[in-house]
């Protein structure tokens, strides 16, 4: 039991998975000798060899397509896309192949692959390094989309994703790669996919978030507590398929819901959650559902990045409002 950062927890899970299953291979740009631009694969090539920790040519479509081909033959490829902004060339392979091979062959072949990528803004990086377009992926039937918000969940969910028999896109919150620390037991215990984590129980209002924004969302809960507002905080963790029951039962209890994500508002995944509530949780609603999100514009370069991101202040204000109305 050691205190590790979120990115170190990723490395632990990868090493554990490669150690327990010879079919697991890691591939991507700079994942080998360099150990990944964020060090997520540090030491893996030295330990498992250049054939299982593959430095690929610079081609994201290739990385995802290789994963599909490998997976059909029983390997369990874990591809790394250096930043989510460079993942778009993989969408064709994800939509047209990875998510469908099982259906297309009616179970004859399957696609047990994981595609990892750091995502989200807040690290003062150049253009395209701050993407958070998880909603595009969470719309794809046959896929799983998972994102951790702590070292513990990073370790357990990544193990779960690698062991899962179907394709998983694993989104790693860049902003808290090192900022988030926690005690991780490297015991090979996976966490379940498809279920949300209730990080804090409360009666007055439900705050739903995932990935790096769980940090601001939890901070907002603390601040609201001081005002005597009892907040329930849900980390959705798996966006596709997501835990509808957790959302509905929490809102049934609180009657108020604030959804927080850093992606652009329109068509973001927060819309799906709000829609679910409008369809099946309406009668328990005491106040309008609120989305606190990134703005509907291009994520600005570092100088304005902070203004773009949902702040603790915006979340607190939204929750406070929700609690006043109704």
């Amino acid at each position: 039991m050691a205190e590790v950062t979120l990115v170190e927890a990723i490395t632990l899970a990868l090493a554990r998975a490669m150690d327990e299953d010879p079919n697991v291979v890691v591939l991507g740009e700079d994942v080998g000798v360099n150990g990944g631009v964020f060090r997520a694969t540090a030491g893996l090539q030295q330990r498992f060899g250049a054939d299982r920790v593959i430095d690929t040519p610079l081609a994201e479509l290739l990385i995802s397509g290789l994963c599909v081909g490998m997976a059909t033959q029983g390997l369990k490829p874990v591809g790394e896309i250096q930043f989510m902004g460079f993942m778009y060339p993989c969408i064709d392979q994800l939509v047209n192949h990875a998510s469908r091979i099982r259906t297309r062959t009616q179970g004859r072949l399957s696609c047990p692959m994981v595609l990892r990528t750091p995502y989200g803004a807040g690290i003062r990086a150049p253009e395209h390094h701050s993407e958070s377009t998880e909603a595009m992926l969470a719309h794809i039937p046959g896929l799983r989309v998972v994102t951790p918000s702590s070292p513990e969940r990073a370790y357990g969910l990544l193990l779960g994703a690698i062991r899962d028999p179907d394709p998983v896109v694993f989104l790693e919150p860049t902003r808290i790669y090192r900022a988030a620390k926690g005690n991780v037991e490297d015991d090979g215990e996976a966490l379940p996919l498809d279920v949300a984590f209730i990080l804090r129980e409360g009666r007055d209002v439900t705050l739903i978030s995932w990935g790096a924004m769980v940090k601001e969302t939890s901070a907002a809960a603390e601040e609201l507590a001081l005002e005597g507002i009892d907040v329930e905080v849900i980390d959705l963790a798996t966006l596709k398929p997501y835990d509808e029951d957790a959302v509905l039962s929490s809102v049934a209890k609180t009657g108020r819901c604030v959804i927080v994500h850093e992606a652009a508002r329109t068509g973001g995944f927060g819309a799906e959650i709000a829609a679910l509530i409008a369809e099946r949780g309406l009668l328990s609603l005491l106040a309008p559902v609120v989305r606190v999100t990134g703005y509907d514009t291009i994520v600005p370069l570092p100088r304005l990045e902070q203004e773009y991101m949902p702040s603790v202040g915006r979340i607190v204000a939204a929750a406070r409002n929700a609690c006043q109305s109704g």
Binding site: V25, D51, R52, T56, P57, A59, L61, L62, S64, G65, L66, C67, V68, G69, M70, A71, T72, Q73, G74, L75, P77, D92, Q93, N96, H97, I101, R102, T103, R104, T105, Q106, G107, R108, L109, S110, P141, G142, P165, D166, D194, P241, Y242, D243, E244
Partner: protein, 371 residues
């Protein structure tokens, strides 16, 4: 600043030279152009290749008529390209993996996929892809070129496991314009993977002729960019296709790396049953190409060698007809699918949240209020 003429280039030292070779054994009339490969001495081998091509054509033409009469969906026939399908598949071993496009019917038949399965798939039913062919083969791929990275991934699995197996990826001339194919070939070159890329150059991509597809004189030379050998074969000469594939596969199996085989042939049919080539292609061009088609070519040779005769032909034709008809009956006899089965292979296990949608389909099964 001044700009000079490019002729300066000619004075520069050459640091790399490349060449593309072409393989063909039989002339269109079946005459022998050059010493045949060893396997061709065995008449049984040649007859089996011939039977494979005839069965493919018989099946293809039947499929078209099924489509015309509303009993099959859009279908891509391989008319005139049977030597590619059969020449390629016949050079593979059962444990090898084929990564086909949507037009490689003959290759999948040779691999053991049943005719009724092929019809079922093009008839709009995923169950056809369960396939009686090798369980590890990939299914028909429709997004052009997108299967090439899969082939490289499959070959990587063989490489990693040190298995003497080869992946064979088929695609068309149009597909060579896609980055997918390029990225896959480049990777295969770096890792010397056991994968053979087969460019079925039928000279058309629907209505787009080869010269609008690429400026390269051959498709084979595209392998130079990936650092391995490309070879052009006469795609209407099944002996050449089989020989080129046998060589390439043997090398790949021996760890000598990938190869690109350009099989130069011609699409004698419309692109698919949904296409009317008359809109963009003169009938004369097609007529002229019929003289080069692969089946008559091999037959002429077999006949000239006295290893094939009128009775053999009649028997074969009758046999193919009968097998195809029987398969069609089995296809038409396949029962409907329950609507809710559209969820059955979405995931290994259907996530709880989608159970209600599956249930809804089950409920509606017989009573969709708008019929």
């Amino acid at each position: 600043m001044t700009e000079q003429s490019a002729t300066a280039d000619q004075e520069l030292p050459v640091i790399a030279r490349f060449e593309v070779r072409r393989r063909s054994y039989l002339a269109p009339d079946g005459k022998v152009l050059r010493q045949l490969p060893a396997f061709a001495a065995d008449a049984n081998v040649l007859r089996s290749l011939y039977r494979g091509m005839v069965l493919t054509r018989t099946f293809d033409l039947k499929a078209v008529s099924l489509q015309r009469t509303g009993r099959l969906g859009t279908y891509a026939v391989s008319l005139g390209q049977e030597a590619v399908s059969v020449g390629v598949a016949s050079a593979m071993r059962e444990e090898d993996v084929i990564v086909p496009s949507y037009r490689d019917n003959g290759a999948l038949l040779w691999r053991g996929m049943k005719m009724e399965e092929i019809l079922l798939f093009w008839g709009g039913d995923e169950r056809g892809n369960r396939s009686s062919g090798p369980a590890h083969d990939l299914p028909y791929c429709i997004p052009v070129g997108s299967q090439a990275p899969h082939a490289a991934g499959v070959a990587y699995a063989f490489f990693l496991r040190k298995q003497p197996r080869v992946a064979v990826c088929l695609f068309g001339d149009g597909a060579t314009s896609k980055g997918d194919v390029w990225e896959a070939m480049n990777f295969a070159g770096v890792w010397k993977l056991p994968v053979i890329f087969v460019a079925n150059n039928n000279q058309w991509a629907i209505s787009v002729p080869l010269k609008l597809q690429t400026a390269s004189e051959t498709l084979a030379q595209k392998a130079i960019a990936a650092g391995f050998v490309g070879e052009q074969v006469d795609g209407n000469d099944v002996i050449a296709v089989h020989a080129a594939m046998a060589d390439a596969i043997a090398d790949a199996r021996a760890g000598k790396g990938p190869r690109l085989i350009e099989a130069l042939t011609y699409r004698l049919s419309d692109h698919t049953t949904a296409d009317d080539a008359g809109r963009y292609r003169p009938a004369e061009e097609v007529q002229a190409r019929w003289k080069e088609e692969p089946i008559a070519r091999l037959r002429s040779y077999l006949v000239s060698q006295k290893v094939w005769g009128k009775s053999d032909e009649e028997e074969l034709v009758a046999d193919c007809q009968q097998r195809v008809e029987a398969a069609v009956e089995r296809y038409l006899a396949v029962g409907p699918r329950a609507p809710e089965t559209m969820f059955d292979y979405l995931y290994a296990e259907l996530p709880r949240v989608y159970a209600s949608q599956r249930e809804e389909l089950k409920r509606n099964r017989h009573g969709r209020s708008d019929g």
